[in-house]
């Protein structure tokens, strides 16, 4: 049991159980304690001007009209006789929780009211990708490479290009971005020192303990002169092994009363908090939360989607509590599209257009639902069936990157000809 003396934090309650790994790493040597056991160097709350970006992709197309309910819209209830969320002033036990005079959260998203009331959570409504595709995969590709309407020709991702265009926030950072998962999220592709990692706590070399250093060294050297992308991936991997071995993720204790949901998403959010607090120069984390493709029996208040929204909201709430002392984190959650304004025949919704985004952080102009509301009357619907888009998703990301992530030039991030961002006041 060791505690970092410098900050007195008790967030990591023991030395890493893998502390034998990678003792030879120069990158890590500075962090070694006199007793040679690696330990985490925890900075006190780092309030630098640049925010760590936590990007959550809600895969499958989240139904924005359930995630943020327009309860004053008559057509909302007409179009969705079976799956609408009741207005806050109704007697329905599953009624919406009002955020303002027009919009509310479904009951399972109640945990979001904490950051919302703290003015740290901004809900953007009627936002998304301008291109009308209703293909999950096309829409995700557009959004992840950062395009809007022209044919998606870019290969690298918006967040990857942002990292490539900005100097590391810590010059010696071994790991600048983590994609939680088995493969790198497309929006991180192109980012220097970006790695997909499924589980931060088990990121180490297996096999016989006695030969691990020799084996690691041989493999490292084999990759050194090999063509990319394998060479870079290997170098990032071996250095990251050394780095993460010094952090005891299993022993990590959240603070601020944070209570992460006990599922994969909660685990990813918890790991993200640990990674940020370890202060090792990570500037971006990508997390996927899937399951939003609710074609049938959607369960807005008591079924599948309800429990999924609960997972999301609890994870957001926990991260908000856990990082309450840190001003330099910004979370943005988005989805490839929303769903039809009307329900389908199976009490679900098919692929639609505009949806919601959530932006959370101390520097966010939160506590409000920001929208240029297009309405749900028949003539207001996009292609006669969906909530229309009035805010380009890139506008939101541009404000985050230029005002909070030290990137003055949006044009390298969203280079599409004809796109000029509109400022909406996302950041305080």
């Amino acid at each position: 049991m060791s505690r970092d003396e410098k900050c007195g934090c008790n967030e990591y309650n023991s030395i890493s159980r893998r502390n034998f790994v990678g003792l030879g790493s120069a990158a890590f040597a500075t962090a070694l304690s006199p007793s040679w056991l690696p330990r985490v160097v925890l900075a006190s709350a780092d309030n630098s001007a640049r925010d760590v970006i936590v990007s959550i992709f809600l895969r499958g197309g989240i139904d924005g009209l359930t995630a943020c309910v327009p309860f004053n819209e008559r057509p909302y209830y007409d179009l969705r006789p079976n799956i609408a969320v009741a207005p806050p002033d109704s007697g329905d036990p599953n009624r919406a929780i009002a955020l303002d005079d027009n919009f509310g959260l479904p009951p399972s998203m109640a945990p979001l009211t904490t950051p919302f009331n703290d003015k740290d959570l901004l809900v953007v409504h009627a936002t998304g990708l301008e291109n009308p595709t209703r293909s999950h995969f096309e829409a995700m590709r557009f959004m992840e490479v950062g395009q809007g309407n022209a044919p998606a020709t870019l290969f690298t991702g918006w967040l990857g290009r942002h990292l490539a265009a900005t100097a590391p926030s810590k010059a010696s950072a071994v790991l600048r971005a983590v994609g939680m998962g088995y493969g790198l999220q497309r929006h991180l592709v192109g980012g220097p020192r970006a790695l997909p990692i499924q589980d931060l706590s088990t990121f180490g070399f297996d096999g016989d303990f006695h030969t691990v250093n020799g084996r690691q060294k041989a493999i490292e050297a084999m990759y050194a002169a090999f063509p990319d992308p394998l060479s870079t991936a290997a170098r990032n991997t071996t250095q990251t092994i050394d780095l993460l071995a010094s952090i005891d993720f299993d022993g990590y204790r959240p603070t601020g009363g944070a209570n992460y949901p006990e599922d994969e998403f909660g685990y990813a959010m918890r790991s993200t908090a640990a990674l940020i607090k370890a202060d090792i120069g990570v500037e971006a984390v990508s997390i996927d939360l899937g399951g939003w493709d609710t074609h049938d029996n959607q369960g807005s208040v008591d079924g599948w989607m309800s429990s999924l929204m609960g997972t999301f909201a609890m994870g957001m709430n926990a991260l908000h509590r856990d990082l309450s002392k840190r001003k330099n984190v910004i979370v943005v959650a988005m989805s490839e599209f929303g769903r039809n304004a009307f329900e389908n025949g199976s009490a679900g919704t098919d692929h639609g257009h505009a949806s919601v985004m959530f932006v959370m952080g101390k520097n966010v102009a939160g506590g409000r639902v920001m929208t240029d509301w297009p309405g749900l009357e028949p003539e207001q619907l996009f292609e006669d069936q969906d909530l229309a888009i009035t805010t380009d998703y890139r506008d939101i990301l541009t404000e985050i990157l230029t005002k909070r992530a030290g990137n003055p030039d949006f044009s390298t991030i969203f280079p599409e000809v004809g796109y000029t961002p509109t400022e909406h006041g996302v950041i305080v």
Partner: protein, 517 residues
């Protein structure tokens, strides 16, 4: 709703359905818990016998050191799940064209011993859908595990290597997540009766079989697509992912019309009386009888199931389908970025030969075009099978391999969205640590169920001989000089004993050139 009822079953330690990941819906990745359950001992013994059989194969007729033209070696690597010494010897013996034809003519390659052993060890492989529901509705992990085991053993030991590669391609193309609703009992049938039965036939046959597959119809929620309450999920994906390609020659209106055409296409659920459970059904009373217009063609009212059959014909004959499938085959077998001229050649074959998969492969794998093919990265499944094949391994318990695949992110039949596991360098090249760890664990002395061929495991002849054997078995003599240097340095670090040889093999499996094919 459509959750299967689960009850604990004695004798098998797999999780019940309740403990399995959440069913249905497109995207969440799932967790299986720390370890995949073990097979019962009786089954394990069968598989051990089988493994021993397979392990002998690479030795048979193997020449000592094939000296091949690069393009011959590329062909072996493209059309197998890992080249063995026997494969390289064979192509050296009979030449490029005959080797390809031998693999294309897969029925003549005798796999009966393998299939008989599998059928005996893994009884769910041959069960009717009805029998699967009767026997395993309360314990659906059994057919899942058996399908995983069979998939691995076929990929590693079947002489029909190209066939297995093609099966892998169509399993991705017509992706179904085995943990979605009912899929533990439905996907094994789809694998057998749709994918394997049609893999080398005409693409339109495969498409038609898939469209009648309960597994597919449930996965893409066409079972809730009924008159007046259309659900467009399957209608959209059959065009976007299975035939025409995304937003490629159809409109939103076409999606909606096609959804109406497919109303009533469903399956016999365990809760319905008529018909055999788990088979295709068309229910006329759920079908939208009004007229439709799809891809600029009129569909007069009341034609029932034949409307959908007509659509399958239209899609199977469509120019965009030929283009989309040609490109997909080339990306899998040739390389990531085939130029349009090459795509057109395969596409023309599709059109000339009625979508014959065999004919398209023959065009895609022409010697001249394969000469310019660039290396691809093995996906984790391919890495695992190629490591087992190259080392002539026998595998006591496939659970280890399944575990390794889960850690590396490619558990078979477990990609949740309908687009299938990616075949994409950017996606797979980042997460390489689990590949190294698979190799380290597989070769960890005393703690691995994997036995490599005795000839490879031997210390005979000293370090140089060991290094040479590793080079021959795993790289057909093509190991890079830098890998050789590192491996020699590792061997020189200590006494040469069987443990060190195994660890050296593990390092060789981790080498960058072994990640490619």
């Amino acid at each position: 709703m459509r959750q299967m009822q689960a009850s604990p079953s004695p004798g098998f330690s797999g999780p019940s359905m309740e403990e399995l990941p959440r069913p249905r819906r497109s995207f969440p990745r799932l967790s299986l818990g720390p370890t995949v359950p073990r097979l019962p001992a009786s089954v394990r013994r069968e598989l051990e016998t089988l493994s021993a059989l397979g392990a002998a194969t690479p030795e048979r007729g193997a020449m000592d050191f094939a000296k091949l033209a690069d393009v011959d070696r590329t062909l072996v690597q493209r059309i197998t799940l890992g080249g063995t010494r026997a494969n390289y010897a064979r192509i050296e013996q009979i030449g490029y064209t005959r080797y390809l034809e031998e693999q294309l003519d897969f029925e003549k390659l005798d796999n009966s011993e393998l299939e008989d052993s599998l059928a005996e060890a893994l009884p769910t492989l041959t069960m009717s859908p009805d029998a699967l529901f009767r026997n395993f509705e309360s314990n659906p992990f059994v057919p899942v595990f058996e399908l995983w085991a069979a998939t691995l053993f076929r990929a590693i030991y079947s002489p029909r290597q190209l066939f297995e590669r093609v099966v892998e391609l169509w399993s991705d193309h017509f992706n179904i997540d085995i943990f979605a609703d009912f899929q533990p009992l439905l996907k094994p049938v789809d694998d057998r009766d749709v994918i394997r039965a049609n893999a080398m036939r005409r693409f339109p046959d495969l498409l038609t079989a898939s469209a009648h597959s309960p597994s597919m119809l449930v996965y893409l929620t066409n079972d809730s697509n009924v008159r007046g309450f259309a659900n467009e999920n399957y209608a959209r994906e059959i065009m976007e992912l299975h035939t025409l390609g995304a937003d490629n020659g159809y409109t939103e209106k076409d999606v909606k019309e096609l959804a109406r055409i497919f109303t009533g296409w469903t399956w016999v659920t365990p809760y319905r009386e008529a018909g055999e459970v788990g088979t295709f059904a068309f229910y006329g009373e759920r079908h939208d009888r009004a007229r439709k217009r799809f891809l600029n063609r009129d569909f007069p009212s009341g034609k029932g199931v034949s409307e959908g059959e007509r659509v399958l014909k239209i899609l199977g004959d469509h120019d965009n389908t030929a283009d989309f499938i040609a490109r997909k085959i080339l990306i899998r077998f040739w390389g990531y970025e085939p130029d349009q001229a090459l795509v057109n050649r395969v596409k023309n074959t599709y059109k000339r030969a009625g979508g014959s998969v065999r004919a398209m492969l023959r065009t895609a794998l022409e010697k001249q075009s394969l000469r310019s093919a660039m290396p691809k990265i093995k996906r984790p499944f391919h890495l695992v099978t190629s490591a087992m094949r190259a080392t002539g391994a026998s595998i006591g318990d496939p659970s280890f391999l399944i575990d390794s695949l889960r850690n590396a992110g490619q558990l078979p039949f477990n990609w949740e969205p309908p687009d299938g596991y990616p075949d994409d360098e950017a996606y797979w090249s980042g997460f390489i640590l689990p590949r190294w760890n698979f190799a380290a664990n597989a070769m960890q002395p005393g703690r691995s169920p994997v036995e490599v061929a005795p000839a490879l495991a031997s210390t005979k002849g000293g370090k140089s001989a060991v290094l040479n054997r590793i080079n021959r078995f795993l790289f057909d003599g093509q190991m890079s000089s830098s890998s050789k240097t590192e491996l020699r340095a590792f061997l020189n670090k200590g006494r040469l004993n069987p443990k060190r040889v195994r660890e050296a093999i593990g390092i060789a499996i981790s080498a960058p050139e072994f990640q490619q094919y």
